[in-house]
């Protein structure tokens, strides 16, 4: 009986890992398509245009105020952008003009396999996604 329980837990863990791998694979496929230079990058932050308004504003304000500290190690990608003028008004040209700030013009991160109504953070190792989570100020 004990053996059966352990086997089930192991199976669940395998399933979870395999699901996570699928999502990581999709992130990496998109990053490959975007063809960004991630050689010195440790984090990517994906900020959607629509979703949790407070969370999106919080992530945007955080990087408006602190991006100088992360500009060489962090890439910011705005996805779902419908109106560049509106993005410039909301985010400001100063941040948008930074070298590691991009717009996902093909909306690749709106793909249901990876999209979120919250800003997301990807941990990057060797130019690939090694982990992903929702954006939190405390991670930076």
């Amino acid at each position: 009986m004990k053996m059966k329980g352990r086997f089930l837990i192991l199976l669940c863990m395998c399933l979870l890992i395999s699901c996570q791998d699928q999502k990581e694979k999709e992130y990496n496929r998109i990053l490959e398509e975007l063809n960004l230079d991630l050689s010195n990058i440790s984090n990517i932050v994906i900020i959607p245009n629509e979703g949790c308004g407070g969370c999106i504003t919080d992530a945007t304000i955080f990087f408006q105020e602190n991006f100088l500290s992360f500009r060489d190690s962090t890439v910011i990608i705005f996805t779902g952008v419908r109106d560049l003028k509106q993005l410039q008004l909301t985010v400001g040209s100063k941040l948008l003009d930074e070298k590691n700030v991009f717009i996902d013009s093909k909306n690749l991160f709106l793909n249901d396999k990876v999209s979120s109504i919250y800003p997301q953070r990807l941990n990057i190792k060797n130019s690939n996604t090694s982990a992903y989570s929702l954006f939190e100020r405390s991670n930076f």
Partner: protein, 379 residues
């Protein structure tokens, strides 16, 4: 001989293509252009054309970027900046804030996030404030009024009509009003018009599938449309059903419900991914608006993308417009592409049906251009 055959084939192809174009019932007859200032964009959630006492049409919209109301007596903008706090404070404008001119110098502002309706003049001075619901006591109200570009508030005498959203999702809404009457003279509120029979069974998806759209008719009645229902209903201003007629889109198939349980999700964890995907991939009747002369009505249908497209992030629908007259005779239906036209800025003006041009805005974001459409027979 071969050349002749090719030429004949080409002519046949062209003639087939022409047949497709002939089916169009609306033609572009004019364009209206409005200059946008540096803080104004196409990100507009509340806009209207208002005809003043001198019979001039005023176009206006709320600008959430600088808490202002922008209006046009000509093609150049004028702006009223609203205070967010203090004696004349109306809070910050957001996607849920809407406005409506009731006269040349009186504007109603519905601040859903504050539960208040403000009456302002053209100087931004608040003349009156009406409490609509208490946000701190969510158990005290079942629905709340809200407006948008496609579902604007309308007024008749001292009454403002605003469509409602329900407070509690996954609920039995049978006895809830979907439309709120707000008397802006004596501050009385009344909820009228419950969901039609089609909603009695089954669960139909996200909240926007339950959202009423309405306009005033020539007879002074309300014409009412619901997203999943082929019927258009006629109610008197007290909310009593007078008649209904079928106004079906060729783009809306017999929609199957998301779930046979009317209160799906109330007892267990709902699958939001599936609910959203279903809602965004099943076409619906989004809006009903009337021409100012009340002789022509436009039922706007969102032609939703396939589930596959929604999955890959392509969620913006094309749309069609069904035109019917004051006798409820359907004149025809025409499809519009969302790559060329903005699917949220479709409005009625004295000149005809105004649809904002997304493609022209993408080329020049300092100008908002509407294409004006009229029935082919009216040319």
């Amino acid at each position: 001989m071969k050349i002749l055959l090719r030429l004949l084939f080409l002519l046949l192809l062209i003639s087939c293509k022409k047949d497709l174009i002939v089916n169009e019932v609306l033609s572009e007859t004019d364009q209206k252009s409005f200059k946008l200032n540096s803080t104004s964009t196409l990100n507009i959630n509340s806009a209207e054309f208002f005809i003043n006492k001198d019979d001039n049409e005023i176009f206006s919209f709320l600008n959430t970027n600088d808490n202002s109301l922008v209006y046009y007596l000509s093609s150049s903008p004028k702006k009223i900046e609203f205070a967010s706090e203090g004696e004349n404070g109306v809070g910050r404008f957001s996607i849920t804030t809407s406005h409506h001119f009731i006269s040349q110098d009186s504007i109603l502002i519905l601040q859903t996030e504050m539960g208040k309706l403000f009456l302002s003049n053209l100087d931004g001075k608040i003349l009156k404030s009406i409490d609509l619901f208490d946000l701190n006591d969510r158990g005290s109200f079942v629905n709340y009024p809200t407006g948008s570009t496609l579902k604007p508030m309308i007024s008749y005498g001292e009454i403002l009509f605003a469509g409602c959203n329900f407070v509690k999702f996954f609920n039995d809404y049978s006895n809830y009003g979907t439309l709120q009457k707000i008397n802006f003279k004596n501050s009385q509120l009344e909820n009228i018009i419950s969901l039609p029979k089609k909603y009695d069974e089954n669960f139909w998806g996200t909240m926007f599938k339950y959202r009423i759209s309405f306009c005033l008719s020539e007879k002074g009645t309300l014409l009412v449309s619901f997203p999943i229902d082929d019927e258009v209903y006629e109610y008197d201003l007290e909310g009593k059903l007078q008649a209904s007629f079928t106004c079906k889109s060729e783009y809306v198939e017999n929609v199957k419900p998301f779930n046979a349980n009317k209160v799906y999700g109330s007892g267990s964890s709902p699958d939001w991914g599936k609910i959203n995907s279903y809602s965004l991939s099943n076409s619906d009747y989004t809006a009903l608006i009337s021409h100012p002369n009340k002789k022509q009505y436009y039922r706007i249908v969102y032609i939703r993308p396939s589930q596959g497209d929604v999955t890959t992030g392509k969620k913006i629908p094309d749309f069609s417009v069904i035109v019917f007259d004051e006798k409820h005779q359907i004149q025809g239906e025409q499809r519009f592409s969302s790559s060329k036209f903005d699917h949220t800025l479709v409005m009625a003006t004295e000149g005809g049906l105004a649809i904002a041009r997304k493609d022209l805005y993408d080329e020049n974001n300092e100008e908002l251009v509407f294409s004006i459409f009229n029935l082919n027979g009216d040319l």
